[in-house]
Subunit: 284 residues, 2 copies
């Protein structure tokens, strides 16, 4: 039995399926306290058997590098009770023999999109999500990038969009990429949430401008062949095309991978990417 | 017999040695035309035997991903005669049986520093060089990052240093990182070359500010455990410490890998990194 857990800030998804990403049965429920959330997830598995492998796709920051002291733990989060909670520890108590593979939600998503979605066959792929925050999962030469922790992409700095004087909403940096382009920053800057802004609103030019600069930084570091942008904020019609247009303008003929078209694309798996990726993690 | 070639814009270095990076004999000569440069290099090897493996560390942009149409070739360069020259083709004509491993000069340098220099034992290491241009080589989880081409790091965009109104010198982008912080941009902005600027000159604050923002972008994408900054411009006393100080200020408590100290360090191998890396490439 192969199992997957997608631990999101708002909801948790559990599934049993295959290491090739096929979901055979799944259940979604709200994320509450660590004890209650993992209690429900592991009980649901136990009712169905004993998993030999469990893939976990979790919100970050989280320790995903085996051997480091923070491995398996939620590192810092505004969610009460979660800081220092050991995900791998909670699983080992109930299923001590299960092989657990833990990664970030965005790494799980890029893996799922590379195997079964908008990046099929692409070994150098990035997945950027824009929602409450901004995150990135990266596949490089077929390997998921971890580094010393994992990418903390949302907090890089990009130039100011000309004319934009909004101070930024990040509680650490004010005007990092996330502070200038996350869902909450859009809502605070324009006085209404992204989902309610008409597609011809100036907000989308500003948003695409910031994302294009974020993609340029990513491209300059890992030379991705394709970039998927997902998450609630990215769903406005024409957003991916607009971002790609600005990206190619600012690249000005440089950055060889940009000769691909389309380069900036929406995800195919949408809500399923996290849990499909969690199952796929058991096979890597 | 193991051979290495470091092809630089100004000089070429050839060596015979071991796949563990030991140089047994080397020769340096100016890089001229492709035919003359490779003629001399391969003749020098032939006088010593027949290499079974040749590692090549070359200036970019260059095709380093096997299987792609541009593999082995210099892609675009201001150096006359080099565009479209096939490095792997030139070697195969003389030593058809040799196993050739080609990578960028900066990837060779990061590999050399990881094995024998300032990043020994660090599997997530970056090497940034500041000279005529700005480039980066990256080791991630022990793998050299290639992506669809290779990192073209110098051309990312970073915010303007407050008060700096210099337009930037990059012929593609004007004010990309390279356009604002390369050796030629320093010389043009301050009226004298970096090597002649005193260590308390304001130029170094501006320079460290831009590099700190470049490192932040790199860190946000690959979560490096340590960053080496080398190249002629980086040799001013105190430059690495100043860059690290600004980096930690703008990170504002975020970016977990920055808890390491020192985080931004000079190279140990200096002029030897390229050729040692070229030899090491034969062993990966």
């Amino acid at each position: 039995m192969i199992a997957g857990i997608e631990l999101g800030g708002g909801k948790t998804v559990v599934a049993i399926g295959t290491a090739t990403g096929l979901v055979q049965e799944e259940w979604r429920f709200p994320t509450t306290t660590p004890a209650e959330t993992f209690g429900r997830a592991l009980q649901w598995f136990a009712e169905r058997g004993t998993p030999e492998a469990i893939g976990v796709a979790a919100f970050g920051p989280i320790g995903i590098v085996p051997g480091r002291p923070e491995y398996g733990k939620v590192i810092a989060t505004p969610k009460p009770g979660w800081k220092d909670f050991s995900i791998t520890g909670a699983i080992a108590e109930v299923f001590p023999a299960a092989k657990v593979t833990l990664d970030t939600d965005v790494n799980a998503a890029v893996l799922a999109e590379a195997r079964l979605g908008a990046g099929q066959g692409v070994d150098d792929l990035a997945y950027i999500t824009i929602g409450t925050g901004i995150g990135a999962g990266i596949l490089s030469g077929g390997h998921l990038i971890h580094g010393a922790l994992h990418p903390e992409f949302g907090h890089i700095k990009v130039p100011r969009c000309p004319g934009d004087e909004y101070p930024g909403i990040c509680s650490f940096h004010k005007d990092c990429l996330e502070g200038l382009a996350s869902g909450p920053s859009i809502a605070a800057r324009w006085g209404q949430p992204a989902a309610e802004l008409p597609r011809d609103h100036a907000a989308w030019d500003t948003e695409a401008w910031y994302l294009a600069h974020g993609v340029l930084s990513l491209l300059g570091v890992v030379s991705s062949a394709r970039v998927i942008i997902g998450g609630g904020v990215s769903q406005a019609e024409g957003f991916h095309e607009k971002t790609e247009r600005i990206l190619k303008e600012i690249a000005a003929g440089y950055f060889v991978p940009l000769s691909a078209s389309p380069y900036v694309v929406p995800p195919l798996l949408e809500q399923q990417a996290g849990i499909v990726g969690a199952l796929l993690l058991t096979g890597i």
